[in-house]
């Protein structure tokens, strides 16, 4: 029989299967769920108290959405960034690479899976805020809000592909993942408005999907930022990430085969 030829339809199916498989696998990880649910709630609580002290109207939902997105970023970062290391640790990286299907499809699906699992953080944060901080769950533009969420998940998932592709090469990539969590929260305006930071920080955020995802979600929920422009930017970045991630992955996969870093030993 051997493997079938890859068609576009089969490629899309493979990404979808990978997406679902990753969510299923992660949802069985009590550690991942605990961190994904608890961490954003803790950060959200701190943010709520800080913003409440500021006494500005509408800022609590602003903080809740930011904290939720922080959770999605953490999920993507540790899910996608740590994915390769985890696959290497549990010995599945080699069987994945020796499979006839292009590894980029596998990682794309897995990246989307990790960012989708991050939605759990967003939901947990919003429910937490509604229950304990009286945050009204009303949004300005429900349609754009509903659209901005999958677009954000897509952007972050494909950013995960870029991360994962570079991490194929390094056996200690998880250390790099830890370094990237807080700076991205700051640069992309998830934690505090970027306007509070030095001027040179803002352009750095423009190339990062969480910036536009945040603007899209907050714009649709609270008004202010143009959500349509932010959604468009998220989609453009997604395409760029896909291109860069696929290219990196091919290149780094070959380098890993040359340097023998696919297995632990």
């Amino acid at each position: 029989m051997a493997a079938d030829r890859l068609t576009f339809r089969r490629a899309v199916r493979l990404v979808r299967v990978d997406w679902v498989f990753t969510m299923k696998e992660l949802s069985h990880s009590s550690f991942f769920i605990l961190v994904g649910a608890l961490q954003p709630v803790i950060f959200a609580s701190i943010a709520f108290f800080m913003f409440r002290a500021g006494q500005r109207p509408g800022t609590l939902l602003y903080a809740a959405l930011g904290a939720g997105l922080m959770g999605i970023w953490s999920s993507t970062l540790f899910g996608s960034g740590g994915m390769i290391q985890w696959e290497r640790f549990q010995g599945t990286l080699e069987p994945l690479l020796v499979a006839p299907r292009p590894y980029v499809l596998t990682v794309t699906g897995a990246g989307l899976g990790t960012s989708t699992v991050g939605l759990y953080s967003l939901s947990a944060t919003l429910i937490w805020g509604w229950l304990f901080f009286d945050i009204p769950l009303e949004v300005e533009s429900p349609l754009l809000f509903a659209l901005s969420i999958p677009v954000t998940v897509l952007g972050l998932g494909l950013l995960g592909l870029v991360l994962a592709s570079t991490f194929v090469l390094y056996r200690h990539a998880n250390a790099l993942s830890n370094l990237l969590e807080y700076p991205i929260w700051l640069i992309t305006g998830l934690l505090v408005p970027v306007s509070l930071l030095p001027g040179w920080v803002e352009p750095l955020g423009w190339i990062l999907a969480p910036t536009w995802g945040m603007r899209a979600i907050r714009g649709a929920a609270l008004g202010g930022d143009d959500p349509v422009f932010a959604i468009a930017m998220s989609l453009v970045l997604s395409v760029v990430y896909l291109f860069i991630g696929a290219h990196f992955l091919r290149y780094f996969e070959r380098l890993a085969r040359e340097r023998a870093t696919l297995a632990l030993a």
Binding site: T92, L96, R101, A260
Partner: protein, 325 residues
């Protein structure tokens, strides 16, 4: 045309030591390995730990790029046509890693079916057949984390055969599996060639190679030091006899004395509980027992017997000679 061809394959690993004063050193894991495997053949790569078996197999299945030399599988170059090679091969490795533990065996097989390009319509039938083949029927919905080592190994085999590949690479598939489980696995492996598949098996169990393989290449220190059928390898030492001496507390100095005897071809030691069994190979017809026991003066000696050489003795002789040279 041979199904698997390896020509002068070499692989060097670079390792780095030290934090501030970093030193790099090169280790030659495989040093010019060449062999061919024909269609429907079960070919064994036999060697001790660290001999270069796994490195060789990883180059053939496209996971490692050779430092030099070339290899082809079904006519496809393993470096330039990696994707074409991957479409035609199945890879099974030993040990209990390499599976998604948090989900069921069925989830693992369904997932890898997609990765291995098994059509959605064929998946159910194929997975059912393989679960039956490896004896996991009825246990497929349990999470893998609860599986024994033998069950995991059987799942590895099922996964490697999902796309019904014409060429199968088995890297120490029975390692750590209990004797009964290992025997069942060997029966499954043996059945693969009956289906017309070409199999390359690495192992360090002599009896396994003897029982399964049509031809064997013995690899030591990254080089093939002998190649042929199990009978060929055995016949190379057919003119020898093996004296087994059970001893307690034998030291390296005494063993060196035995190795120094002109009539002795090789000396090896196996640990069996408290005792050590010294295996001395010499030309047939020589009466060496007294001389050997004489050199073990001062230590407790148990049972002493002489017997015909086995494939294991042939292997030990080859490896010992290679290490000595």
């Amino acid at each position: 045309m041979a199904v698997i061809e390896a020509h002068d394959l070499r692989r060097t690993y670079r390792s780095v030591t030290g934090t501030f004063r970093r030193k790099t050193s090169d280790v030659e894991a495989v040093r010019g390995v060449s062999f061919e495997v024909d269609k429907g053949e079960l070919f064994g790569l036999l060697g001790p730990n660290g001999a270069g078996k796994t490195t060789t197999i990883k180059m053939l299945i496209t996971l490692l790029i050779p430092t030099s030399g070339s290899a082809k599988v079904l006519g496809h170059d393993v470096v330039k046509e990696a994707r074409a090679v991957r479409r035609q091969i199945g890879y099974v490795f030993g040990g209990d890693r390499g599976l998604y533990e948090r989900v069921s065996a069925l989830d693992n097989l369904k997932y890898f079916s997609e990765l291995y390009g098994v059509g959605p319509r064929e998946q159910k039938q194929r997975i059912g057949y393989l679960l039956e083949l490896v004896g996991l029927n009825g246990r497929e919905k349990e999470r893998v984390e609860g599986y024994s080592r033998g069950m995991r190994q059987r799942l590895h085999i099922a996964r490697g055969l999902l796309h019904d590949p014409p060429v199968v690479f088995l890297d120490e598939p029975t390692i750590g599996v209990d004797p009964v489980g290992a025997r069942e696995l060997r029966a499954t492996i043996s059945a693969l060639t009956e289906q017309g598949k070409t199999v390359l098996l690495t192992t360090h169990y002599m009896f396994e190679a003897d029982a399964l393989c049509d031809r064997i290449a013995v690899i030591s220190n990254g080089e093939i030091i002998a190649q042929g059928t199990p009978s060929d390898l055995k016949s190379a030492i057919a003119a020898r006899t093996v004296v087994e001496i059970e001893a307690y507390g034998v030291d390296e100095a005494r063993l060196d004395k035995l190795r120094g005897l002109d009539e002795v071809a090789s000396v090896s030691v196996e640990e069996r509980g408290q005792a050590q069994v010294i295996l001395v190979q010499s030309a047939k017809g020589l009466q060496l027992t007294q001389a050997i026991v004489g050199h073990l003066d001062g230590i407790r000696v148990g049972r002493v017997s002489a017997r015909e050489p086995t494939l294991e003795d042939a292997y030990v002789a080859l490896i010992t000679d290679d290490d000595g040279s």
